[in-house]
């Protein structure tokens, strides 16, 4: 295991090398940072993967928890090398995070939080300038944080250089990742083909997720009689397969305009059957089958009321988000 003293010695050596290369103000900062690096040494080793946070105006930084997990695996590997800037550096890195903006969404262990609290006082003044806490040699592990003018925060992981070219390259890769994932989401969420831009896409995704979650909630209300005896029927897989097809056919025939929101979606994504209509058709099938009407009628009214209430929400949400966009 790495010891506190080893870390600080190594860091000081690196600092000395670095001082010859870099301008003075950065060195000064590094020297300050060096003081605190010992605290957050071995016990609070945290590993951050390349993080990207695209901010339009704020400087809040978000930390990925899986980054922690991957980091532990890495840390095990590097243990023997004694490249000690890792834990100390990351403590510094998290200190930088705390500086940015009012949205402090970092979940750090308490010791690191203390360190960062101590550092924040020192870092306030040095905030706008470009900071890099490590030397540029590649075999030493380090963390660096660069504040780019367009507010994409990239955190370098261990063993990565901190020169501007590689950082820019990394930012591009992060952007690539994000856009690739947005593309997958576009395929997944119906009606997103026409929408370009992150804000609109995110709107659609949010609405879709909300509607799916709502459907899951409404489901129990839709089934009035619960399975108590018909277990053999239900466990028949062929039977299960058959019904969704039936419902697709029936729902495409039914034209139920519940809210203008739904109608818009239907016109946009015609080939894909909208999940809401599934539910409508299954409940209206109940009406059409007309079996045990009186008992189920009360449930139907309840369910319809629910539907009316729940489907009014997307309209509100939609308008809510729209107003937020405008301001």
């Amino acid at each position: 295991m790495l010891h506190c003293t080893d870390l600080s010695v190594l860091e000081r050596q690196q600092a000395r090398i670095k001082w010859q290369q870099e301008p003075f103000h950065q060195q000064q900062r590094y020297f300050d940072e060096n003081e605190f690096s010992g605290f957050s040494g071995p016990s609070q080793a945290q590993q951050f993967q390349g993080l990207v946070n695209r901010d339009m105006g704020i400087n809040g930084l978000v930390k990925a928890d899986p980054g922690l997990d991957n980091g532990w695996a890495d840390f095990g590997q590097f243990d023997g090398e004694g490249s000690g800037l890792g834990p100390g550096g990351f403590g510094l890195g998290s200190g930088f995070e705390m500086n940015y903006g009012s949205s402090r969404t970092i979940s750090c262990p308490s010791a690191v939080a203390e360190v960062t609290a101590a550092e924040t006082k020192q870092r306030e003044s040095a905030l706008p300038e470009k900071m890099s806490s490590c030397n540029t040699s590649k075999d030493n592990s380090k963390v660096s944080e660069v504040q780019k003018p367009d507010y994409i925060h990239v955190r370098a992981r261990r063993g990565q250089a901190t020169d501007s070219h590689s950082l820019a390259e990394r930012v591009c890769k992060e952007r690539e990742k994000i856009s690739e994932r947005m593309k997958y989401l576009q395929d997944l969420v119906p009606g997103c083909n026409k929408i370009t831009g992150k804000a609109g896409m995110l709107d659609e995704i949010i609405n879709y997720v909300q509607s799916l979650q709502r459907q899951v909630e409404v489901f129990p209300a839709c089934t009035s009689n619960f399975p108590m005896g018909a277990s053999s029927e239900i466990t028949n897989p062929a039977y299960l397969q058959f019904n969704p097809l039936q419902q697709v056919v029936s729902c495409s025939g039914l034209e139920i305009g519940i809210s203008p929101d739904m109608a818009i979606r239907r016109t946009i994504s015609a080939p894909i059957p909208i999940p809401e209509t599934f539910l409508d058709s299954s409940c209206f099938d109940q009406i059409q089958s007309s079996s045990a009407w009186d008992g189920n009628l009360q449930n139907l009214y309840n369910m319809e009321f629910l539907q009316g209430r729940s489907t009014s929400f997307p309209a509100q949400q939609f308008s809510g988000i729209r107003t937020k966009k405008s301001c």
Partner: protein
């Protein structure tokens, strides 16, 4: 954190496969992109849906037995119980490979722990000096960032996550939810006919 301890085994097998030839960062990216690609196909299979339906029936039967009275089925409490059950089965079907599934599975544990300890603590948001009497103006985040945060709150366990990871989780979550809805409507159709 519970999530880190649980997710460690997940990181293990993935890494072992490719750790010898590629570097860490390469593994990270490749894994994630593969995961995203297969997420949709994984949740789309009929087999998954059937497995889910079967488990759903079992769990719902058990939940129904636990309900105090038949009238509670249509009450909000009964419905949320059903929903929680369904979510938990969905999370179990994900086999703990995704963040949201782990969060759902551990949330019930946390709830139990909290109720045992009767923890009542509010999260105080400290903005500026506590002693100052002036109201601190809240910084309004830009629209995109607001939406990202909102999405993070919607997907369970993904409140503070970087954007690419959040999008991955959202992809998987949406695919899983779709499968859940499909299975549920199938089951509902069977029950109602």
């Amino acid at each position: 954190m519970a999530s880190s301890s649980i997710s460690n085994p997940e990181a293990g097998p993935n890494r072992l496969r490719e750790s010898k030839s590629k570097n860490r960062r390469g593994i990270g990216i490749d894994n994630r992109i593969e995961d995203v690609k297969i997420a949709k196909t994984k949740w789309n299979t009929e087999a998954e849906q059937q497995i889910y339906s079967l488990k759903l029936m079992e769990a719902l039967r058990m939940t129904r037995e636990n309900l105090p009275s038949p009238a509670e089925e249509v009450s909000p409490a009964g419905r949320s119980a059903v929903r929680r059950t369904a979510d938990r089965i969905l999370a179990a079907a994900a086999r703990g490979r995704t963040r949201w599934s782990r969060s759902i599975l551990t949330s019930r544990l946390q709830m139990k722990l909290d109720s045992n300890r009767h923890k009542k603590h509010k999260r105080l948001k400290v903005t500026g000096d506590i002693r100052s009497k002036k109201p601190v103006a809240r910084k309004r985040l830009p629209a995109v960032q607001q939406k990202v945060r909102f999405l993070g709150r919607l997907v369970p366990g993904c409140r503070e996550l970087s954007l690419p990871k959040l999008l991955e989780e959202a992809t998987d979550y949406i695919a899983a939810l779709e499968m859940q809805v499909r299975a549920m409507t199938a089951v509902a159709g069977v029950l109602n006919s």
